[in-house]
């Protein structure tokens, strides 16, 4: 293809810069001392340290899961530093106390922390490596009784809520990466929406990895009380580095009677370079519990970054009439690999789940959908609709689908549709004949392919997601 394309594909990851701030790093290595250090840094109560240590001891007995359709060299967990915070004022009391270098980082990322500059109606929690630096609109939200803060702060100020819910959806012994996270988690967001409150703005967390040779272990907990509603969004970026970096997160959602949680992700971690060098390893456990009747949890994800994505946002549909949804776009270009999907566990009566997955593979990318729909034996009249579509761009990439369906109650209605297609030469030519460049044609067609998922995103972010997809596709044709 033309010279222009080469130029474009080299410029594509515009979030790859590094912030020069002095940071305090925990010594490399994972042991009980490391965990004690993290817990001390965070001023944690004894019960939480014990919980972490219990997880660590469990983790020592576990093995990395091998079932995913992913290939990567062995991770040396003792070569990672598990904690990094800015030396200067890691716990700023106000915006003025934040290191200007860091503040300008967020400006560059398009996430200004000043409330008046921020998109109206979006509150932001800014997590930089292992610490949450600042949360906007906290006071305003508090007027409605909403708690939106970092998980570290929640541990200090709302220990009863954290103690009650932490590990209640993803237990500390759940899986290798979740157990690791339980031992060493550093920061993430905490959201509590009281009974009957409809959260008046979008809540969001912006995760930034900056320090070298560190891992980021975010932990997020969202609780929606009876009849409440919240829409939450997370975004993620990291600098370009030759080494792989680990991000192992756990997110737990709890929706009580008649509550709704919408959780959206725009994941744009550094994907590695053209040769597949570097990039983030993204091993994430996300699970929501529809605990109450008529509750609803909806996951929407746009995964365009990371060298490796291993992620299955799931719903446990306990409450009668509860609804679980999973809308996903996963794009792998260059040498990226993704194994992603969902689990929908139907336990209550009349529970309903919808899965729409769009996988796009370009370059040497490998993209797998893996999903489980399980209808429990006491779940009467459960319904599931699954649609997974894969699109291939070029002839060096791959798309794979691994659907698992387990039905133990004969009243269930299941629908499953799947398709795999190559991006149509005819479609590209048609657009070109109308005047669009090949790149723009591909981007237009792929965005059309993802429409059903994008329309689930909050409006401003849907626009962002479309742009991001176009940028991530650059260099994929020709």
């Amino acid at each position: 293809m033309s010279v222009d394309l080469e130029k474009l594909s080299k410029e594509d990851y515009k979030y790859g810069f590094t912030t020069n701030v002095e940071q305090e790093l925990a010594p490399k290595g994972l042991n009980e001392e490391t965990i004690k250090l993290i817990s001390k840094k965070k001023n944690e109560p004894e019960w939480l340290l014990e919980w972490r240590l219990k997880a660590y001891r469990q983790w020592l007995t576990m093995k990395e899961p091998k079932w995913a359709h992913l290939k990567f060299p062995k991770i040396d967990y003792n070569e990672i530093s598990y904690y990094a915070e800015p030396k200067k004022n890691p716990r700023p009391k106000s915006l003025d106390e934040i290191d200007p270098e860091i503040k300008s980082t967020y400006d560059k990322l398009g996430i200004p922390l000043e409330e008046q500059k921020k998109l109206a109606g979006v509150a932001v929690d800014a997590v930089f490596d292992s610490v949450s630096l600042f949360t906007t609109f906290k006071e305003k939200l508090a007027e409605e009784g909403i708690i939106f803060c970092s998980i570290s702060e929640a541990v200090e100020n709302h220990p009863e809520l954290v103690k009650k819910y932490l590990g209640s959806v993803v237990p500390y012994h759940d899986n290798f990466f979740a157990t690791l996270n339980s031992a060493v988690f550093t920061d993430g967001s905490f959201v509590y929406i009281p009974k009957g409150v409809r959260c008046p703005m979008e809540l969001s967390t912006y995760f930034r990895i900056n320090a070298e040779n560190t891992g980021q272990f975010e932990r997020t907990l969202i609780i929606a009380e009876e009849g409440s509603y919240v829409s939450y969004l997370e975004g993620c970026t990291a600098p370009k580095r030759d080494q792989n970096q680990l991000h192992a997160a756990v997110v737990e959602l709890i929706a009580h009677d008649d509550a709704t949680i919408k959780y959206s992700t725009i994941q744009n971690w550094y994907p590695g370079d053209q040769e597949g060098k570097g990039g983030i390893y993204n091993f994430v456990t996300k699970r929501g519990r529809c605990a109450g009747k008529n509750s609803r949890i909806s996951w929407t994800q746009v995964e365009t970054g990371s060298a490796i994505t291993w992620k299955y946002p799931s719903c446990i549909l306990e409450g009668d009439n509860s609804v679980g949804e999973f809308y996903s776009v996963a794009l792998t270009n260059r040498y990226q690999q993704a194994d992603t999907g969902t689990k929908m566990l139907h336990i209550g009566n009349n529970t309903k789940s919808t899965i729409i997955s769009k996988g796009i593979s370009a370059g040497h990318g490998q993209n797998a959908y893996r999903g489980l729909v399980e209808i429990g034996k006491n779940a009467y009249n459960a319904r599931n609709y699954t649609q997974c579509d894969s699109m291939l761009i070029g002839d060096k990439c791959g798309a794979h689908t691994f659907p698992y369906i387990e039905v133990k109650n004969s009243t269930a209605h299941m629908e499953h549709e799947a398709s795999t297609s190559k991006i149509g030469e005819d479609q590209i030519f048609y657009c070109q004949q109308r005047g669009l460049s090949e790149e723009n044609a591909v981007s237009l067609i792929v965005n059309g392919f993802c429409k059903e998922v994008f329309r689930e995103l909050p409006f401003e972010f849907a626009v962002e997601a479309e742009k991001l997809l176009s940028v991530s596709l650059e260099g994929s044709v020709g």
Partner: protein, 250 residues
């Protein structure tokens, strides 16, 4: 406007066009007719820039520029439009979105400001009215679930918006009932101008009852075997293509 000299084209190892010559001047309507497999659609595709065909010899000059050297999108922006024989479906992409992107790409190429959303919508609605199209088609995905007639009408609609200097219609009449045919023909006639040329590829004479061509060419075995005025189309309708083919082979 367009000058095709000694054009040879092959696909895989089969030669389809074997030394085709054709000159189209500003404001002229040319019709190319011919039996199946004579190379009519190949000619349209090659002019539009489809890369599955290989040009082995010859040249095509469009408005003084080497057309074959240009990318398909540049040809479009220079003013070449092709109404497809089989318009492709593009799921999830709204019809008006593609068309606005296309129009603005063309405007940008020609150093013009992009057209504002509201002005585009106004323009689109006006054109649709003339083509007896429902406005809901703007929001529908490109060609998806369109009937045969709707697809062809949509092609003419796109042509009207993009305002080309050379419009190539590749068997736009095939699969149309008589009412749709009239609408399509009217859409073309409305666009007739001294600056615009048409190349109408068709199998049958019936479209030419409505769009009267200045020249009719018969394509046989990759070459123009016979050219004439509009009366040639009637003669072909009456006698078929056999006598032209025989004359070539004689």
């Amino acid at each position: 406007m367009l000058e095709i000299r000694n054009l040879h084209v092959k696909i895989e190892d089969k030669e389809i066009l074997k030394g085709l010559n054709l000159t189209i001047n500003e404001g002229e309507i040319h019709s190319i007719m011919g039996p199946n497999g004579s190379g009519k659609s190949t000619l349209a595709q090659v002019l539009a820039g489809r890369d599955t065909y290989e040009v082995t010899e010859g040249e095509v000059v469009f408005k003084g520029k080497d057309l074959l050297d240009m990318a398909p999108e540049d040809r479009a922006c220079e003013g070449v439009f092709m109404a497809f024989q089989y318009p492709v479906e593009i799921p999830g992409v709204a019809n008006n979105y593609l068309l606005r992107e296309a129009l603005n790409a063309k405007r940008e190429y020609n150093g013009l400001e992009p057209l504002k959303h509201i002005d585009f919508t106004k323009l689109a609605k006006e054109k649709m009215k003339n083509l007896d199209m429902d406005e809901s088609m703007l929001r529908r995905a490109v060609n998806q679930g369109f009937s045969g007639g709707e697809k062809k009408r949509n092609e003419i609609f796109q042509m009207q918006i993009l305002d080309p200097s050379l419009a190539i219609l590749d068997e736009t009449d095939s699969g149309l009932d008589i009412d749709a045919l009239k609408v399509v023909a009217k859409g073309v006639i409305d666009m007739k101008s001294p600056e615009r040329s048409f190349l109408i590829i068709t199998h049958y004479q019936r479209l030419l009852n409505y769009i009267v061509p200045d020249f009719v060419h018969v394509l046989v075995d990759g070459k123009i075997a016979k050219s004439g005025g509009k009366e040639l189309a009637l003669e072909l309708e009456e006698k078929g293509y056999g006598w032209v083919e025989e004359a070539v082979n004689a």
